[in-house]
Each structure stands twice: as structure tokens, then as C-alpha cells.
């Protein structure tokens, strides 16, 4: 069985205007829409396309997080994942511990490919894929905007500061997705019904033998400094004059 493992993180939907709680203990989550991290949705879409082209037999969606993350896994199953696993964790888990948990699952499930988002839009860490690849001692192809699988190799085009870089990796490997890799499909109603019958296993960090001993502590959250609203100018001439006065043009 040729398998692709995909990471699914439950995050505040990207359309929500995130606000810091007045006491600085975190951000407001009550009544806030939660979704699959957009980069993870792209990871899942890529895995589904590879399977549909015959490059894999099974797509396994894995989430680490609260019980409620089952909702996001059900969405992943509705999109087309074959099976899902939730690794329950109460507190937010640090990237290194997430990578260790994923490694345990990777050892059990022996995927040919692991596809993760390049970052989660909550903590914006951008660490897990690289860490998993290191612990697994396998290649990493981060920030992917194009993936081509040929047998036991993948050619991956990466969005880097200089432009586009292409690397070749031996499988199994870890790929992390950038936004332009694909456009995820919409979920159709019948698929939501079908997804209810697909297997979703629940386990936890302790059962996997992973210690999530925190090494980093968030002391507080603050709103960012606000920029002052400036002035509206009436014409191009007024704009250029203002910039010239400040020595900017």
C-alpha cells in the first residue's frame, strides 16, 4: 500500500480578524470560526491529486490538537482522505513535539510521502515539516509550488527568495506546501455524508510515547502597535509635493 500522510491543523479561519484578549492570555476564540489551516488544505489537495493520478493508494489525514479537531478531520475525509487519526492534546504542542508525534505515526504507517503546510497561520512557526524530516533522516522539500513524482523520486519546485528553485529528492520525503501549489476543491454535500462512515481513530501523545514537555513558554500576547491613520491628499501633484518635502522622492 502506497500511502501519503497529510497534516491537518485546526486554526482560526483566515478571514477572521484576530483580536488579543484584554488580559493578554491569548487571542479571542469564543464563537470564532475555525477551519483547516489553508496550507494544510493545499497539502491534502496535492495528496488527493497524486492518488487520483495513481501515484498513491491511500491518503491518511492526521491532526494534533483538541477533540474538536475531529471537525477538521471530517472535512478532510469529505474532501477525499481515506482515513484519519486525531492525536489528542490539550495545550498547544510545540513544533518539536508535533514532529516527534508525527514521526511515531510515520514509523507505524510507513508513508511514501508526508505533505504538510509550510506554516500554520496561528503561530506562524514554519518548523514542523523540517523537524520531522530531520528526525526521520529523510529529505525535505519546503515551500513547494510544484510537485512531480516519478517512481521513487520527486522533483519539487520551491518558492525561494531568489525565485523558483527545483530540487530532486528520494522518497520517502517530507514536502511542505506554498499557496500556489494548487487550489483545493470544494466539499460537496454527498461527500460530507460519505465522510461520516470513514474511519477516524483517536489516540493521544502518551499512547504514542511522546513527551510534550514544554521548552518554550508564551508569557503574554499583545496587540501590535497600530499605525496612525495618515492624511488623504487630493491629487498626484499634492502627493508628490508631500513626498518631496519629506525627502522621499
Amino acid at each position: 500500500m502506497r500511502r501519503i500522510l497529510v497534516g491537518i491543523k485546526r486554526v482560526i479561519d483566515y478571514n477572521v480578524r484576530v483580536r488579543v484578549r484584554p488580559d493578554g492570555s491569548g487571542v479571542v476564540t469564543d464563537g470564532v470560526k475555525m477551519s483547516i489551516n489553508p496550507f494544510d488544505e493545499i497539502a491534502l489537495e496535492e495528496a488527493l491529486r497524486i492518488r487520483e493520478r495513481g501515484g498513491a493508494d491511500e491518503v491518511l489525514a492526521v491532526a494534533l490538537g483538541p477533540d474538536d479537531a475531529q471537525q477538521q478531520l471530517r472535512t478532510a475525509l469529505a474532501m477525499g482522505a481515506d482515513r484519519a487519526i486525531l492525536v489528542k492534546a490539550g495545550e498547544p504542542v510545540e513544533p518539536l513535539a508535533v514532529a516527534r508525534a508525527l514521526l511515531k505515526l510515520v514509523e507505524r504507517e510507513t508513508p511514501a510521502l508526508v505533505i504538510l503546510g509550510k506554516q500554520a497561520i496561528d503561530d506562524d512557526c514554519s518548523q514542523v515539516g523540517q523537524m520531522l524530516a530531520a528526525l526521520w533522516d529523510r529529505p525535505q522539500a519546503t515551500f513547494a509550488s510544484r510537485v512531480e513524482i516519478a517512481g521513487e523520486r520527486a522533483q519539487v519546485t520551491r518558492e525561494v527568495d531568489a525565485g523558483l528553485e527545483t530540487i530532486e529528492v528520494d522518497l520517502p520525503a517530507v514536502i511542505t506546501t506554498d499557496l500556489r501549489l494548487n487550489e483545493p476543491r470544494y466539499v460537496k454535500l454527498p461527500d460530507i455524508m460519505k465522510a461520516k462512515k470513514k474511519p477516524l481513530d483517536v489516540t493521544d501523545l502518551a499512547a504514542l510515547g511522546v513527551e510534550a514537555e514544554p521548552m518554550l513558554k508564551v508569557l503574554k500576547y499583545e496587540p501590535p502597535p497600530q499605525r496612525q491613520k495618515g492624511v488623504m491628499v487630493k491629487s498626484a501633484a499634492e502627493l508628490v509635493a508631500a513626498l518631496r518635502q519629506k525627502g522621499l522622492v
Partner: protein, 312 residues
């Protein structure tokens, strides 16, 4: 004493501007002694440039042809070996550093603090989360190596005038052959580099086509500015991906940022928060970009750009 290792980004025999910024961040850590590591085929020129950065105590040069072009899987085992005895290992929040540093951290079993924007103590840092909608203060458990990436837009590069000693060292680490460089396509441009330019002119979806996007390029050239773009403009193919500004593009801090036909989505604003002066040109007076603009001009970009040019 805090012994800090900065991993140097370089390409084509030239030191990247991010290195001096990482050194600034390192020097903000109390009682810091800063070492720069250069991993390169030859690296003589790069190491010499690193040695000139003010505040650098030592440069370690590790020569290995496998280290160029840079591949995280090849560099990480070497950096992890070099990290022995250091309290902190820093790299830039560029795609080079974002790719490499977590791999180093995992090999060290160390935590990573991503996108450090301010140093509060040797173990306490501030960093943006939620696309910059919140700033988190994080503290690392003391007594173990800490890996971090430095948000380059938050730091001025350390100046020149240094004269650190360059030591050529060898590291004994098995390097993998499972990852191979194939090619890189970078548009050749005579324009200033987006990440370091003093002035940036950016265009959005409103430009409507690749041909029209030339209006942005022409204005940029008149002003000696770099060109940037919104994600929508890049997705639509008006501009190449390396010009994207924002949460998933480049985070920049120019003196002047001009956003033309860009609505000002939070993911875009994340990339320009540190710009000194923001100018917005948009036909919609309600566009969110005006909330952060120092100067706003409402109108049609297709008539306003030529008018601006005629005033210059």
C-alpha cells in the same frame, strides 16, 4: 557569557544582507560573543566579508563543495556539529533560514523561536503571531541551546569596520545524498533588491494584466525603487513569485512603500508594518489599505500613475 553562532546566508560568493541583521540581533543578547559560520565550497570572500561586520568576534569557515548550492539536508548536520558549546544558533527569517534552522533545531533536540523581532533577555524574545495580529513574548527554558530565526525587517544591519579572525575548520558529519539541487530560475533584474531597497512600488490585482504591470515597473525605475506585488497579482501571473510582499511573501521595511491597486488584506499588511512611510493609491475610498497609509490618494491608478510621473 552567551556564545552565539550565526549561520551565514550567501550565494555566488557574496554575503547576504541578512547576516549583518542577524549579528545585530545577536548583539542585543546580553553578554554576547558572536561567531559567524560560513559553509561554502571556497568561501574566502564570504568569510572575509563576515569578518568585517562590526561586533563579530570570530568567523568559522567550513569548506565543502557539497554545501553549495545550499540544501538544508546537507547543511543541517554540519551546523548541528558546529553548534556544540554555543548557547544560541541564529539564522535569518529568509527562505534559506526558514528551511534550514528547524532542521538544525531538531538535530539538536532544541526548541526554535521563529521570527524574533525583539530581544528582551538571553531567553526572552518577542515575535509576531497570527499574521502579525498579535505579538507574543516567549521565554525558553534556560540551560539548553536555543535556535532562532531573526525577522530581518526588525533589525538594522550591524555596520562594518570589524576585523574578526577567520578560522578554517573541518566538521565530521555524514552528509546525505538523498537531496539534490536541480536548478534555480531567478529573473535577472537591474532594479534594487526588494528586501533591502529604500523605496518599493507595489502593484495589486487592479493592474489587470502583465502588460499593465509594466506601469508599476516604469514608476519604480523613475524612483530608483524596487518592485513588489500582492499575492493576487502574483497568482494572476502579473509578477513573479519572488516579488510577493506579505505573510507568505517578503517582510520588508523600506523608507517608502507605495501600494497601488492593493486592497490591504491583513496578510499583505503583515509584510509592510515596518515601512517608514506608506502611500496608498486606490479607487475605493473604503479600502483597508487607507487605514495604515500615511498618504492616501483615491482615484484610478491608470490616470494617476502618469500624473505622478509628470510631477517627478
Amino acid at each position: 557569557m552567551n556564545r552565539i553562532l550565526v549561520v551565514a546566508e550567501h550565494a555566488g560568493g557574496r554575503l547576504n544582507a541578512s547576516v549583518a541583521k542577524c549579528v545585530s540581533c545577536a548583539l542585543a543578547i546580553p553578554d554576547a560573543e558572536v561567531t559567524v559560520a560560513v559553509l561554502a565550497t571556497d568561501g574566502t570572500a564570504v568569510a572575509a566579508a563576515a569578518a568585517e561586520i562590526h561586533g563579530v568576534a570570530r568567523v568559522l569557515l567550513v569548506r565543502n563543495p557539497a554545501s553549495e548550492p545550499a540544501l538544508a539536508a546537507v547543511l543541517a548536520p554540519q551546523v548541528a556539529k558546529l553548534a556544540a558549546g554555543f548557547s544560541h544558533v541564529l539564522g535569518p527569517s529568509t527562505t534559506f533560514g526558514k528551511d534550514l534552522m528547524p532542521r538544525v533545531a531538531a538535530l539538536l533536540g532544541a526548541p526554535q523561536v521563529s521570527d524574533v523581532m525583539a530581544v528582551e533577555s538571553a531567553v526572552r524574545f518577542r515575535r509576531p503571531v497570527y499574521a502579525g495580529n498579535a505579538i507574543a513574548t516567549v521565554e525558553a527554558a534556560p540551560g539548553r541551546t536555543l535556535v532562532a530565526t531573526v525577522r530581518t525587517a526588525s533589525f538594522q544591519g550591524a555596520g562594518g569596520g570589524g576585523s574578526a579572525a577567520v578560522e578554517t575548520v573541518t566538521v565530521d558529519a555524514p552528509l546525505p545524498a538523498h537531496t539534490r539541487f536541480v536548478s534555480v530560475s531567478a529573473a535577472k533584474s537591474d532594479r534594487p533588491d526588494l528586501q533591502t531597497a529604500a523605496r518599493v512600488i507595489s502593484g495589486g490585482r487592479a493592474l489587470g494584466s502583465k502588460e499593465n504591470f509594466a506601469l508599476i515597473q516604469r514608476l519604480a525605475d523613475r524612483l530608483g525603487a524596487a518592485v513588489g506585488a500582492s499575492r493576487a497579482a502574483v497568482d494572476a501571473g502579473y509578477a513573479p513569485n519572488e516579488l510577493q510582499v506579505g505573510q507568505t511573501g517578503k517582510i520588508i521595511a523600506p523608507e517608502l512603500y507605495v501600494a497601488i491597486g492593493i486592497s490591504g488584506a491583513i496578510q499583505h499588511l503583515t509584510g509592510i508594518k515596518d515601512a517608514r512611510t506608506i502611500v496608498a493609491i486606490n479607487k475605493d475610498a473604503e479600502a483597508p489599505i487607507f487605514e495604515v497609509a500615511d498618504y492616501g490618494l483615491v482615484g484610478d491608478l491608470f490616470s494617476l500613475i502618469p500624473e505622478i510621473e509628470s510631477q517627478l
